[in-house]
Subunit: 120 residues, 4 copies
DNA sequence: GTGGTCTAGACCACA
DNA sequence: GTGGTCTAGACCACA
């Protein structure tokens, strides 16, 4: 469920974080569902528990999970998270548009390119 | 001309590299124009020469400048570089589209968003 | 295992790079095997860690090793690397042929010379 | 007659040296023919006279030219030089064979490759 | 412990 | 003067 790629240049904790964000956003992990304990996931993935701990701390800070002491970590409702993530995507898109414009690629060209992908 | 932000999470050498890439691509530094010497730029930016050295080595490896030993570093013709950079942008756009799709944002929505920016 | 020759005109980092390329290509360092840490190798060879760091960065960029942050550097599978290296050799051979031809040494003579070595 | 490529990674003095070696070996500069003075060539190529001086010193050290004080520099007879250069080529070929063998490319394969080029 | 980045400063090759 | 390599040593992110 959580694929780790050691050859990936991104740190492991970030890969774990990203993966959980996707699972929660897409509803594969449902609202208020319990996610694996730090210790269990560390064993499953053969990864240092500190790394999982850090990933979970990151998820909590970004509002994707909440912790109940003595119980475990639970997913936040995707309905509340989607607008935030959508905003992240749009910010990324805006930055890309600006970089494109700097070297003379117009917004029209970007739109054309996306439409081309859509039709294929 | 080369703004450095020590608070930026990206390493300094990368900020320098990115900045020069832009200056060359946009034609602000012209083809075969000399860029500042390692030492001069280091003094100007109050940065260690080694860091500038690394940035320039990166620029050369990526094909943005060429080095003439004992003379200095010179910009490559932007005409040769633009297609490569364009491809980079389009790859970034493709990744963004895929991330968007994963959580149910369609290509149409992305196109709408870009058009909205275009008209404002 | 990594012989360094300070009298060699090639820089140290390049000697280290070349040596590891050979060890990996010949299977002496096996796929996914850990290579020495930057610090350990630096101490072993009485060389500055920065120089080893540079050699390893080069190896990664050329695709011979991959880095797992906090864990170390690991060899890529030689099976994936051999075709690329083979191509390098053949390119070198082609250049040599051309240089030979310029002063009137024919390809036949080169072949004869190689056959002579083969039979001795 | 002496093409200089500033983008070439080899130093300029080496490009000049190599070029003269070829011109002499191929008989384009004949035995005992005068080659341009340091000053004239420097002006012709828009290059620092020190660089030409160094190239000529190299050529003399390697036995390709001889200097007559107050007269200039003169080419040595190609007949005397060819065997030496031939030896250089063969040494290069031997090194290449050894590198090839280290990763399991046989001499037969190298011969095949050369024959292929010969027939095309 | 492990790699990545950076500063400070030296020496060399090249022009 | 200009870039290339190297030493010495610091601090940070990551596991």
């Amino acid at each position: 469920m959580i694929p780790i790629d050691l050859m990936d240049s991104r740190p492991i904790y970030e890969q774990v974080t990203e993966r959980f964000k996707m699972l929660i956003l897409r509803g594969i992990i449902k609202a208020d569902e319990k996610i694996p304990s730090v210790r269990n996931l560390a064993v499953d993935l053969s990864i240092n528990p500190n790394t999982i701990q850090r990933a979970y701390a990151e998820l909590e800070k970004q509002g994707y999970i909440y912790t109940v002491k003595g119980k475990g970590n639970f997913a936040v409702d995707a309905k509340k998270l989607l607008p935030v993530y959508r905003e992240e995507i749009m910010t990324g898109l805006k930055e890309l548009c600006e970089r494109a414009e700097e070297i003379g690629i117009t917004k029209e060209e970007l739109i054309c390119q996306i439409e081309e992908w859509r039709n294929s």
